[in-house]
């Protein structure tokens, strides 16, 4: 048994490899992931939450907002370039980042380490939620680009299922958390907040910002499930049949 020899050889091979100075492309891909999280994904999240907030004004206002967004020039190009593809990349690369990290929260239960872990779990919730949300709300059922005024009814029907409502509430909180901590992380990792005090101040600001976003998002969900606009009439049969002849939809 040449254990001494083989172990000596192993000692050199084992363990974490040294820095590959100046080699490889990980830097670019990682920074792209980081940047996309703020622009355009974060910017789109803001837009989405603001647009959803129109639902509090009722089905007509919400429909008008959907119509406006779908009327933007080159909207399908904008949608793929600034929403779908960046989110897909951010999500897939984010999972790759997670898989390469080795959580040690059990031994080091410090606040930064908690946030590091939370950023991974909220990201996973976000990507799973967004996947089903885009498939069911954008590509399945009544086509909102052609029938924007059916938007309120479509979302309302989705949220009528209490399980789906729970999914939306959890995802809303997780995504707002992920984005607000993401801003903080971006500032720290791009060298915008190199001081402890600066990071602390931005931490408070991001907390407030995240809470405002989440409350706005949850308020919009409430607009669909609350007692104010029950059983919105612009349901599937009406929009399917009447929308081509009546593109304006409702005007109650």
């Amino acid at each position: 048994m040449a254990t001494a020899q083989s172990s000596a050889a192993h000692t050199v091979e084992r363990g974490v490899q040294p820095l590959r100075a100046g080699q490889g492309t990980e830097f670019l891909w990682r920074k792209l992931h980081s940047l996309l999280g703020i622009i355009p994904i974060g910017a789109f999240l803001l837009e989405h939450i603001l647009s959803n907030f129109e639902a509090l004004k009722g089905p007509a206002a919400y429909g008008a907002q959907v119509k406006f967004l779908n009327g933007l020039p080159l909207v399908r190009v904008l949608e793929w370039t600034f929403i779908f593809l960046p989110i897909l990349y951010h999500g897939v690369y984010g999972v790759y980042i997670w898989l390469r990290g080795k959580s040690n929260l059990v031994y080091y239960p410090w606040s930064g380490n908690w946030m590091y872990t939370a950023q991974r779990y909220t990201g996973l919730v976000a990507i799973l939620y967004i996947g089903q949300h885009v498939i069911r709300q954008r590509f399945m059922g009544v086509q909102l680009p052609e029938h924007p005024m059916a938007a309120f009814a479509k979302v309302q029907q989705e949220l009528a299922n209490p399980w789906m409502l729970a999914v939306y509430i959890v995802a809303m909180i997780a995504i707002c958390w992920h984005f607000s901590y993401g801003i903080w992380l971006f500032a720290a990792k791009w060298g915008l907040t190199p001081g402890v005090t600066a990071r602390k101040r931005l931490g408070y600001a991001c907390t407030v910002f995240g809470i405002i976003l989440a409350v706005m998002g949850l308020a919009s969900i409430w607009a669909f499930v609350g007692p104010r606009y029950p059983n919105t009439p612009e349901n599937l049969p009406v929009s399917y049949l009447a929308a081509p002849a009546n593109p304006g939809g409702i005007s109650i």
Partner: protein, 249 residues
């Protein structure tokens, strides 16, 4: 006669391929006792708590006053210096294990060579070697000295790397210590001649981008080095360097 004792559980491993076993030891308590003095005592008299003779434990240590960085180990699960770990402040039995992220040599001794490889990869030195007298170096103002002094306190103990969730075989992350040294030597009026080289080195695979900002490094650092500040500052410098390189073609 009720002498006060201290109980230890030490993870033993005869060689990198041998199975790990735990052994219990019980020592007489002495005032001001620290973990490294207990390790010395156990190595000098390797008898387990149940009276069985065993092999002397192996560990790294040198200065015994948190200056050399040798005696980093996991004590009650956390990476720290055995010399500055006072027994009276620890829950018993005190569990002592080797650092987990570095190749094991024997018992509590690990091979931390990767840190030195990393320091070499970023040229963490001031280039003053030559065949003739270069004369006195440029003046460093006291304000600059004060800013650099905390960074110069690094003892290469690798605690920051051990506690980092990103420092592992998957990422090959360089770790906080090396990044802080890049900041130190880039701040130095002579050392900064390598500034661009160091920043480009840190943009390589396993470089500064792998940091997940869990901030465990700064919590664990026995010398209170502002590691997260250094990572933030150097990150910005690396990004700017890469942008410049891109635009200059």
């Amino acid at each position: 006669m009720a002498t006060k004792t201290v109980r230890f559980e030490i993870k033993r491993q005869a060689n990198p391929d041998a199975p790990a076993v735990w052994e219990n030891f019980e020592l007489e308590w002495r005032p001001g006792m620290n973990v490294i003095s207990a390790m010395m005592e156990i190595a000098a008299n390797p008898v387990t708590a149940d009276g069985r003779e065993t092999t002397p434990i192996t560990y790294d240590s040198n200065c015994l006053e948190e200056i050399c960085g040798s005696c980093a180990m996991r004590i009650n699960g956390k990476a720290r210096m055995a010399c500055s770990s006072l027994v009276d402040n620890l829950e018993q039995p005190i569990r002592v294990e080797p650092l987990s992220k570095f190749p094991l040599v024997r018992d509590l001794q690990v091979d931390r060579h990767v840190l030195f490889e990393n320091l070499m990869a970023v040229k963490a030195w001031v280039p003053v070697d030559g065949t003739y007298d270069l004369g006195s170096g440029p003046r460093v103002f006291p304000q600059q000295q004060e800013a650099n002094y905390p960074l110069s306190n690094c003892i290469s103990c690798t605690c920051c790397m051990e506690v980092c969730p990103q420092f592992n075989e998957g990422t090959g992350f360089v770790g906080a210590a090396t990044i802080a040294q890049v900041k130190l030597f880039n701040n130095h009026p002579t050392g900064k001649v390598f500034k661009e080289d160091r920043l480009r080195a840190l943009a390589g695979d396993g470089g500064i981008q792998e940091c997940g900002f869990a901030q465990n490094c700064v919590e664990a650092c026995p010398k209170q080095i502002p590691l997260t500040n250094a990572i933030s500052d150097v990150s910005r410098d690396v990004i700017i360097q890469k942008a410049k390189d891109f635009l200059r073609g």
